[in-house]
Structures are given as C-alpha cells and as structure tokens.
Symmetry: C3
Subunit: 393 residues, 3 copies
C-alpha cells in the first residue's frame, strides 16, 4: 500500500500527454508518458493482486481486430478490457461485410458507436500494418469531431509491422522489476539477438519494439543478427539517436557470442528480414502459393546456415548472469522442434522469468487504456484505492 | 435534459403493447409502439451521449444468431446488449450440435436458460428467415409457459427475408431527426429506389422494410426499380393500404428520374428480385454450385442493363435537395467498384448523413429490448435520469 | 424462501472440501461435496428464478476451451460465468499460436492472468481428454504457487473421455427433483442403456458419468448394451464397488428389455465402444481419412444390427412408469433420422422432462465455480439472500 502511494507520488510529478491519445509506437511517446505507463502498469498489477476492482466503466466495448493469430495478446487485451469494465467484441473480418467492399474508414465508425478502445494486431504485411492502424485512428477521429461518435475510441497497437508496444512495455516492466527500477537500466548491456528457428516469416516488430524502446533509458543496447536479417533502417536510425540522447549506446553485431559477452539481459528470438517480408507481402497479395512455398524454402535454407544462433548454456555462460527473456512461444530445441532458438535447459531454468515477463502485458494494456481515458489518473487511482471495491466479493 | 423530459411526457401518452413481445415486423406493431420505439431510441442515445449508464440488467445473456455476414448489425446488437447490462453470446451453428440433427425448437430452449434476448439475422433464404424467427419465438414461449425458462427471451429480427426493422427504424429515426419530427413526414416524397450493383443476391428486406414502415406516416412513398426487380407482392399490398390509411400515398415506377424528381428523401440501393431469390434458395439447398454460378452470371448480366440506375449528381439535382440515405456499405463508383449504386461525389457529400443514419441502430435495438423488458418504461427512465449512474466513472 | 433456508441448513452440515479445487471426475469427490454441489445448484436456480443477482465477481474471465462441438454445455458455461459476474473468453485453438508449437503448460498460464475458471471439453480422443485437463490444472497450479498468477483458476471438466460431470450432476439433480430428494434414490432401478443411432463415434463419457455417479446413492443401477459396446473397464469396476458401498447394486446386461423391466429411470443413448474409440483416435492422429471412413462404415454396420435397441412405447410399457432421460440432442425416429434412439411418441411425451433435465446444467456449473471460489458458501449465500440485488433491476 505504501509502495502504491509512493508510485502515485511519482506519477503526479510526470508531465502527461496521454489523455485522448492513441498508443501506436513507443517512440511517439515522451519519456514521461512511458514512465507513467510503466508506473500505472505496476499499480494496476498490484491492485489486481490485492483484490481491487478497477471497473472504471459501467459499460462500453473494447474491440479487438486480430489480422493474425494470437494467444497471449488476445487474452491480455480481453483481460485488460474486462478489468476496466469493458466488454470485448472481436471484429472478425470473415464474419463481416468487408468482402462487400466496405472501406476501413467506414467500418471503423460503424463498429465504434459504443466503443471505448480498439486494439489492432496487423503484423503480416510489411509497410501496411501501421498504416492500417492510423487509418482507423483517423476515421474515428473524423467520426468524433463530426459528432457521429459520442466518444473517441482509443486505438492501441497490439503489434504492427513496425512496433509491438504492448510487448516492449511488458519487457521494460520486467527488466525494471528485475533490476529494481528504471533508473538502474543505465549502463546495463541489453541484447536483442536473432536466433535460429525452423520456421520463417516471423514479424520483425518484436525486435524493433525492443531496440526502439530500450534505447531510451541509458542502456547499452546491442542488436545481433546474421548478415541478411536486417531490421527496418528507420528503426535502426532511431535507436542510434535515442541511445545517444539517453546517455547509452546502440551497437549492431553479426556475432552472437560477442553480443552475449557480459550481457545483463538477453532476448534471443527469430525473425525474418524485411526484404523477405516485402517479398512475402507481395506474394500474399497475389495469393501466389507456389511463390510463397519457394520463398519459404529459400528462407528455411538460409535460416539453417545459422543453426549455431541458439541460446545454449555455453552462450549464457558468456553473460553477466543475464536475465533471459522471450515473448513466447519459443522454439525450444528438443521440445517443440529439433533445433530452435533456445536449449531446453536454458529455457527451463528461466521459465518463471518468461512467465512473469508475460504477466505484465494485461496490465500494460490496461494502463494504456486508463491513461488515455482518465483525465486525472492520480485522482482516479487515489479514489479507487480509498473506496476499495472488491474484485472478488 | 428538458428535451428528455418532454420526450418522456410524449412517451407517457402512448398506448404501449410491447412488454413481453418480440419485434419481428414493423407492420405487426401499432403506430404507438413505433412512436414509443423511436422516442426511447432518441432518449437512450441522448443519455449515452451524456454519460448515463443504462444498465438495467445485473446479468443475463443477449444471444445473437447470424446466418449471414454482418458488421453493423452485429456490433449494434452487441452494443445495445452491453449498454443494458447483457453479455453477448454468439450462437455459431458451426460450433454447435445442429449437425447432430437438433431441432430449432430444442436449440432455442437449450441456449435460453439465462437469456433475455435473442437477435436473429436470417435473410438468405427467401420464404424461410421469418419462419425461422417465429419458430424460435414459439419455442421459447413454449419453454416459458412450461416453466422451463425463468424468463421469456425477446426475439428481435436483425433482418429476415421479409423485413429489416432495426434498419428501417434507424432510417425513420434519421428522417425524423432531419425534418424535425415524425409529424413533418406528412407529404414528404420518400423514394426507395433500386440501384445498379456489380453483385447479386442482395436481400430485398431493406427495401421492403423501408416501404413497409415509411408508408405509415403520411409520406408520399415511391418505390422505383427496373422491370424484373419486384419485391414481395404482400409487402407491396401492405404499403399501399398503409399509405392510404395514413393519408399519404404509395406509388411504383420503373423510372428512376421520375422517382427522384422533387424527392425529399432518396435511398438508392440494389437488391435482387424475389424470383431470383427463390431460384437461389433452391440452388443453395441443393448445394448446386454450378447452378448458382450460372444464376449469378444471368443476374449480373441483367443488372448490367441498368448501369444508368446510379445515384449521380445529375440525379440528385432533380430532387428537392433530398436527404441521401444508404444502410451501408454502398457500392461507390470508382471507390470499391467501377460502376455502382452511387457516384463518389454524391456519397462523399452525404457521408455524415449515412454515418448518423447508422448511429441510431444500437439505440433502436436497445429501445426494442428496453420496451419489451420493462413494464413501465416511463417510470424506469425517470429513475435512471434521477439516479444518474455514470457510464464512464 | 423457507425452502432456501432449509437447504442452507443442510449445506451447513456438510463437510466441504471444494474450496480451491478443480472438478474433473465425480468419483474424486466425496459424497458431501456432491451433495453440496446439488444443494447449491438448487439454491442458485431458485435464486435466479426469483430475480436475484449472483454477481460474486466484479471482473474476471471464465475461459472455455472446446475441442469438440457444443451447444448446451457451451451456453451453460457461458450462462454460469455471466450469472457469477465473469466474462467468457473462448480459447479457440485455430486463432491461437498453438500451431507455433506452444506447450499446454505455457498456454494455460498465458491465458490465465485474470482468469477465475477454465472449462474444458475434450472428449474426442480416448485416453487423452482427462490427461489434457490435468495438464492444464497442474500448469496453473505451478503458475499460482510461483506467484505468476494472482489467483488459481478452477479447472472444470465440461466433458472428457472419461467423465461428463456437469451432465451427470444435471441428471442427478433432475432425478432428485423427480423423486423428491436424493434419499429417495435408494432402491430405485436406474437404467443407462445403449440405443441405436445412425451415427458413430459418440463419446462414452455420458454413460460412464451416469453409472459413475448414480451408483453412489443406493440405487439399483443397470447398464445395458449389446455385446461389443463395452465402456472403460475401470469405470465399470468403480461403479460396482461404489454400488456395493452405497447399499445399492450395479448390473450389466445385453438385453434391453430385461433392463427396462420395472425400471424407475431410463436413459437410452448411443455410444461407441472404447475399442472403436481407440482405433478412431489413432486414425485421427494420422489424419487417415480413408481409414476413418472405413471404420465408420464398419461401425455403422455393427450399429445396424441393433436397430431394435430403440426406446419405444412398448419398451416404456415394461418400466415402472419410468422417467425418460436424455442429455440431448436425441436421434428421434422419423424426426431427424429414419430409425434412432427413441420413437417420436416417447420423446414427445417426455420432452419437458428432457428440457428440465438440461435446465439444471448452467446452475450445476455455477455451483461448481461457486464452491471452488467461496471459502464459506453458507455465509456468502446468506449474505446474497439478505441483501437482495435484482438481476433485472
């Protein structure tokens, strides 16, 4: 309880600009906004643990649009909405009239008359996911300004082609928790490393989200991948600049061992290169199954040249007793694949770390909604703490 | 607030017969019931705008059965249920045991033990959708009378082969709003016109719902379509009689220009003829894909003879500065098709009208549920206005 | 109301061990736990009928995992969750990342951060359904003990390969209601009989659940089936022992008429033999469509040798005016099949019995959740009765 009050005090000192705003890319947010999101995440998680109800809505919809499969983000979004009092309504394009040629602008308004938040995952088509989210945001802004919508639903990026802020903010929360606070990130060596996977086409946005966020807190961020697995150049550029500004550093290496040496945090995870994702996008648009199969074969062969990019005990021994992170699900050698991103022993040793990393996500999303919907979050949280209403009565 | 009280006074004077009743066809409802539905729609919409909670249920299910794709009606139903405190549970026949040969009578009861409302869209099979809805209604009536169900779920037609009352009531709400009240419909020329579309098999029930409802308020209702696109004869008959009784008129023309001349409201929208829908139904039942493809080709060729049935600027210039309406999504020439129901300029000019037209639907559905569930709606609304509970706390 | 207080007094006397426990097999529960589940089922049903709200949760998720089609159990689970204040979130494996090789242990935790209950139907693969449920239960126990989960979601068996406790408890509730109390089961002849069906592969767990539960209350339980339609040997063994302990009896016969003679309750329903289910499981795992079709043909031919295993008037006349039961949907001769489990006249005469049998299920599930979540159920129920909050306000 005292910890909560202390966090509220810190929250009070921040210069917030999140009310009424979407959450699309972390690098569009000020440091204070990110700190506030983190603080509110921690507060809401603690309140949930202590059986507080956080129902700030009597009614209202939280709409989810998943253009890709999802388990954890789907349930995190549903959990966050439920915790705040919103009902989730999934917008399933297959059951909709999208096929009738409806425009995004129109659909966005048609589903939003009673909506408070729209969460969107759109990570398959590189160069398109972020744009789609912005189209939705503009559309509901238009509807709101023209008094079609009584409230402006907040758009939350549940993973785009560029960023995955609900994941990277969960990662940040985990790292802050592990090292006893955000300020302790200063000087820590944080490694986002490519790792071998027997599948292809995994989105780049987890890696991009990580380097785009972690480079803002003074850490020594290292991106490691084999030649050919480059991320979006603009995110690389951004990470460099942010690292400089924050008093940290940002480096790229093609040597996994070098990256792991003395690392404090490692996140070894597979992704495709953006060049592959571009080809894949074009083939997907053409419904070119043969082309897709050929691309997959080429990519898998390329991947297979980097079987040694596996997070093994040997690799972990190079680190400074590093925190192992993974957004899950991981490709675990000998468990769900022959050779994968991580050895079974490393994964099993760190399983609780990965679970607790994931456990922040529902509260990260709840915090994003809360800060976008509540004008004076400190006052509201104080009110909720004072008039404790039990989650389980 | 004063406007709300004035509306409540008007509501008080109506002779209501909606408590415990289904809403299947507008023409089964008295004028007072329709007026009450409209008034409560307006009241609930205003209350929503002013952050009133309208949770009249602590718990209970709102069941949706969509036998066809849907965006706006699906979300309108979900929104209405949510606003009133009900949780939506979609009855997805693919995930059910319908395939095991379960009867409608049985299913209807099995899903209804805690249900307060069942919304059904069944518009694909002409001659069947309305019957299905009545079967469900009879089944839950049987269950309720025999004390199997503790409450009788209200059945609401979310579009059948005959009528689309949640759409037509939204249209009525928009028109009343546009002209400053229902009484101002007297003498207005309201045109429901067929329009060209590069698709086929669109349901007739939007057009039927419009002429079946608008003909009851003294308007001069005109139905326009090319030869061969006739609506159900019984609805035509009904519209004629209702128009006469209400002091208005009902006319059919095969000339779009004639129809548009001096019109106050135009709703140009494509539909199939009921003869085509009958053939299509039989082919669908036989799973005759070849036959369906052939029928589609014939129909598209027929449609293509009426490319000039497009709502263009030229057409609009014939009108008395008419309100352009469309239930959306529209086939917009040059936007989602080469040639369609409406030109881009006309659509874009009127986009806010079409959005606001759609914005009534969640509240129309909420009003239908409210009036069917609450014995004394005036007293309940007064109570809700007095003890304001905030939707967003 | 007096009846409710009397039931509460009886509940108070029971030695409960359900708090924090899963509900997987009835035979893992003590007689007192089963009696308590039945009492709370009756209490909650009566409270629902009398417009009590039973919202013991302000927020929280009820997760459903259906690995087979379901209507009544799906809606019963959704209804129970809704009644208690939980929002249902369906875990649809097709929309998840299961395909990415995620383990059950991981998934179970990832979806459970705000979950209070997980209901699982997994009845297709013999030898696997129950195991899957136990894996989920162990996983969330692991997460809870390691402080990953703030609460331990209760796992409820919504039908496994072994037992179907929400069904058998509903059956028990119906029988107890019919005969005026559980104690009146003593000496009643209760027949679970195989019946002919023109389909194959129906799960054994309904029959197993029935004999595994009813054999504990002093009844004379008879299992009847043609040679070759044996149930799991361990459940047969269990039923024998339980019957002996309870002062009743358990017999198996291959003669339907013998079974029906002087019966007080009959439940004629089709199932496959476990040998067939084992072959089917192996073929399903191999995706061997040809093999599955061949197996189906063999089974249907075998079934067809027992067309006379139909519950006809003639059969019913042999009984002691027996209560006819069926979990629904039934194969009704001349209604949804040519020849089936039951004749139309018998089914129609007993339709209200089958509906009321089904009507207990939502409250059985609610009772299971309630008793697992509420430490002192008597005190909580008294509180809810005292501070009546209306379900429909």
């Amino acid at each position: 309880m005292e910890i909560l009050l202390e966090k509220l005090k810190r929250l009070e000192k921040l210069n917030l600009q999140m009310f009424g705003k979407d959450f699309l890319l972390t690098w569009e947010k000020s440091i204070d906004d990110l700190k506030a999101t983190l603080l509110v995440t921690e507060i809401l998680k603690e309140m949930h643990k202590n059986n507080y109800s956080l129902k700030i809505f009597e009614s209202g919809l939280g709409i989810s649009i998943f253009r890709d499969q999802s388990t954890r983000t789907r349930f995190s979004f549903a959990s966050a909405c439920n915790f705040l009092g919103l009902s989730v309504q999934d917008f399933d394009e297959k059951k909709s009239q999208i096929a009738h040629g409806e425009t995004v602008r129109e659909t966005a308004n048609m589903i939003s008359f009673l909506a408070e938040v729209i969460g969107i995952r759109d990570d398959i088509f590189i160069g398109e996911g972020d744009k789609y989210q912005r189209n939705v945001a503009q559309a509901v802004q238009f509807g709101f300004e023209n008094k079609i919508l009584h409230q402006r639903p907040t758009v939350i990026n549940l993973q785009s082609d560029i960023d995955h802020p609900t994941q990277s903010m969960s990662d940040l929360a985990k790292i802050a928790d592990h090292f006893g606070g955000l300020s302790n990130l200063q000087g820590k060596k944080i490694v986002m490393s490519w790792a071998y996977s027997p599948s292809y086409g995994k989105p780049l946005s987890v890696a991009q989200g990580m380097i785009g966020l972690l480079s803002r807190f003074g850490a020594e961020v290292v991106l490691a991948h084999p030649d050919g697995y480059e991320l979006l150049p603009e995110v690389i550029e951004l990470a460099k600049n942010q690292a400089k500004e924050s008093g940290g550093s940002f480096q790229i290496t093609n040597d996994m061992k070098e990256a792991f040496t003395d690392a404090d945090v490692v996140c070894p995870k597979s992704w495709a290169s953006f060049k592959v994702m571009e080809q894949r996008r074009d083939l997907l648009h053409k419904n070119d199954e043969k082309g897709l199969n050929e691309l997959e074969q080429i990519c898998l062969q390329e991947n297979a040249q980097h079987l040694d990019w596996e997070c093994t005990e040997e690799m972990m021994n190079l680190t400074n007793n590093a925190l192992y992170m993974h957004p899950l699900p991981a490709d675990i050698s000998g468990v769900n694949c022959d050779r994968g991103e991580v050895s079974q022993t490393v994964f099993d040793k760190n399983i609780l770390h990965t679970y607790s990393q994931a456990s922040f996500k529902p509260f990260v999303i709840a915090a994003m909604i809360f800060l976008s919907k509540i004008d004076n979050p400190v006052a509201k949280l104080e009110e909720l703490l004072r008039n404790k209403i039990y989650r389980k009565k």
